[in-house]
């Protein structure tokens, strides 16, 4: 059986082990992990970006998290947690934990660097207009941080949606089922089909995020507009720029 035959076989698209069901499982693991990671990483990132405290420690440990081998950690967690968690949850909990650990660093980094790199001029202007520090955070720094936050979320999503295939290693469902079963059963069309579906799902989510970025981010902050901005539009601005540079 070839890859195309596997993908177009109606039998693979129906039933409890069918492609739509496995995609739903894959998305369920992905979004559950992303939601938990966001609840942890976004407030923490705001705190670090706002106060400047703990950046070295948190950023350092978040980066160390990236180096953890997901599959090894998954098996270790399963073996350690099995006596403490009853029923089928024992397969789900370690999987979600490793995916959350994978998702945290990009979101955290995106949030605090976003807040820190908010345009100084905008912050100064807000302060001049009498904004309090909290108002500056929510009305100026957060909107300015949004592009980086979203790109952090996007990075996490891509990593998590493709890594969620490890769920199948501990008996769970998801697109990893095709990859692991295909290998064990020497059904390489199934294996390649699973890998292809994961890639397509990642690309679909990527598309979703670029649309999301367009809808959520203020037009003034979009990278494309910003890239065009440095060109002075009239002689007055040009003169001003030259003056500032000369001083």
């Amino acid at each position: 059986m070839t890859l195309l035959e596997w993908l177009t076989d109606p039998a693979n698209w129906t039933g409890p082990g069918g492609i739509p069901v496995q995609i739903a499982y894959q998305l369920f693991y992905t979004f559950l992990s992303l939601a938990i990671a966001s609840v942890i990483a976004i407030p923490l990132g705001i705190f670090i970006g706002f106060t400047g405290k703990g950046e070295a420690i948190v950023a350092g440990s978040a980066n160390a998290l990236r180096a953890l081998p997901t599959l090894g950690l998954l098996i270790l967690l399963f073996l350690v947690l099995a006596p403490w968690i009853a029923g089928q949850l024992v397969f789900v909990v370690p999987t979600i934990i490793v995916l959350v650990l994978l998702a945290i660093p990009p979101i955290l980094t995106g949030t605090y660097t976003g807040i820190q790199s908010a345009d100084e001029a905008a912050v100064d202007a807000a302060r001049g207009m009498g904004y309090t520090r909290t108002q500056i955070l929510w009305r100026v720094q957060m909107p300015c941080a949004l592009p980086l936050l979203i790109s952090g979320l996007r990075g996490s999503t891509l990593q998590v949606v493709s890594t969620a295939t490890v769920a199948a290693y501990v008996g769970l469902q998801g697109l990893g089922r095709y990859i692991i079963d295909g290998r064990a059963q020497a059904d390489f069309a199934q294996m390649a089909g699973g890998a292809l579906l994961v890639a397509l799902l990642a690309l679909a989510l990527e598309l979703l995020f670029s649309i999301l970025g367009r809808v959520l981010v203020s037009p003034g902050l979009r990278r494309t507009t910003r890239r065009r901005r440095p060109q002075p539009t009239d002689t007055a601005t040009a003169a001003l720029t030259t003056l500032t540079a000369a001083r």
């Binding site: 059986m1 070839t2 890859l3 195309l4 596997w6 098996i75 399963f78 073996l79 099995a82 006596p83 009853a86 029923g87 089928q88 024992v90 397969f91 199948a168 501990v170 008996g171 089922r177 692991i180 079963d181 290998r183 064990a184 059963q185 020497a186 059904d187 390489f188 069309a189 390649a192 089909g193 890998a195 292809l196 890639a199 397509l200 690309l203 990527e206 598309l207 670029s210």
Partner: protein, 304 residues
């Protein structure tokens, strides 16, 4: 807009690449040299993806090296479905096998269950280019194990006893069991067992054992040579309809790489190997002793 075009373009290229490579996979499992042996003089030894298979492969490897044969180790390949294909296309030359399971691989209809019957049928069933040496008396069968509590609760002694309660129980085993005759398929066809669920874990490894002991699965595929069986008072259900045939350890080799030296060396290993020795060595492996050390120690004690 540019980003969108880029995404669509990259999607298209991924599909194209995968479709091309997928079409080529067809029937051939792994590409390599011609059927019947890798090129060159050295013997490539493979193993399955569980510790006992790697242990026996290590023993073969050390024994052959001691006999002056040039070897290369290519362990931890995967399931039988994968490594037999690798043996047939010459990616590997030698692998330790289990007679009954190998027979079922080539002849799913086979009813042979004793060591002698299995060997007789197996030597006929082996495809051209592959041969087997003498079997060892050492055996390691797949067994269905339950905890003592489960056995008492449902009054289980044989696999047949599972029939009325299977729909309440979860079975755990390796992913290849889903499609195997001596796995989920045979349990359904021969014993009429429909479990509540099958959970894909590992081949008699730590995941399966942990899940069984902690009750996440109630019935597990484990190996009869696993010392954890007695250590945890597990009950091995009797295979009263002989689904799982005799599983003597046997070296299977590409004919092109077979020679008198190799045969004499491996026959001597098979003659010395016993089931008890396997259980003992598996115990040491589970404690973390390196396979090379265990294999060397056994070879020394067996005088090989």
């Amino acid at each position: 807009m540019r980003k969108l075009t880029l995404t669509v373009l990259s999607a298209a290229s991924v599909i194209a690449a995968l479709a091309l490579s997928g079409c080529a996979t067809g029937d051939q499992a792994l590409s390599g040299g011609d059927a019947g042996g890798s090129p060159g003089e050295e013997i490539v030894i493979g193993s399955a993806d569980f510790s006992e298979s790697q242990l026996i492969a290590t023993i073969y490897s050390l024994a052959l090296q001691d006999a002056g044969v040039e070897v290369r180790e290519q362990f931890n390949i995967g399931s039988r479905e994968v490594y037999i294909a690798a043996l047939q296309d010459g990616s590997i030359d030698l692998i330790p096998e289990y007679s009954g399971a190998l027979l079922k691989h080539f002849d799913p209809e086979s009813k042979a269950s004793t060591s002698e019957d299995v060997v007789d049928e197996l030597s006929d069933a082996l495809p051209e280019g592959i041969e087997m040496y003498d079997i060892s008396e050492a055996q390691d069968k797949d067994i269905l194990a339950v905890t003592e509590d489960t056995a008492t609760q449902y009054d289980l002694e044989t696999i047949s006893d599972l029939e009325p309660v299977a729909s309440e129980l979860i079975l755990g085993g390796p992913a290849e069991w889903v499609t195997r005759v001596n796995g989920v398929v045979g349990l359904r066809d021969v014993y009429g067992l429909e479990f509540k669920e099958f959970v894909s874990l590992d081949a008699g490894g730590p995941l399966t054992m942990t899940a069984l002991l902690n009750g996440q699965i109630q019935v597990a595929d484990v190996f009869s040579t696993d010392p954890a069986l007695t250590a945890n008072n597990l009950v091995a259900l009797e295979d009263d309809k002989s689904l799982f045939a005799a599983e003597n350890i046997v070296p299977v080799i590409a004919s092109a790489k077979s020679s008198d030296t190799v045969q004499e060396t491996l026959d001597a290993v098979s003659a010395a190997l016993t089931t008890d020795a396997l259980i003992e060595m598996n115990g040491k492996a589970a404690e973390g002793t390196s396979l090379g050390e265990i294999a060397r120690e056994w070879l020394d004690s067996a005088g090989l």
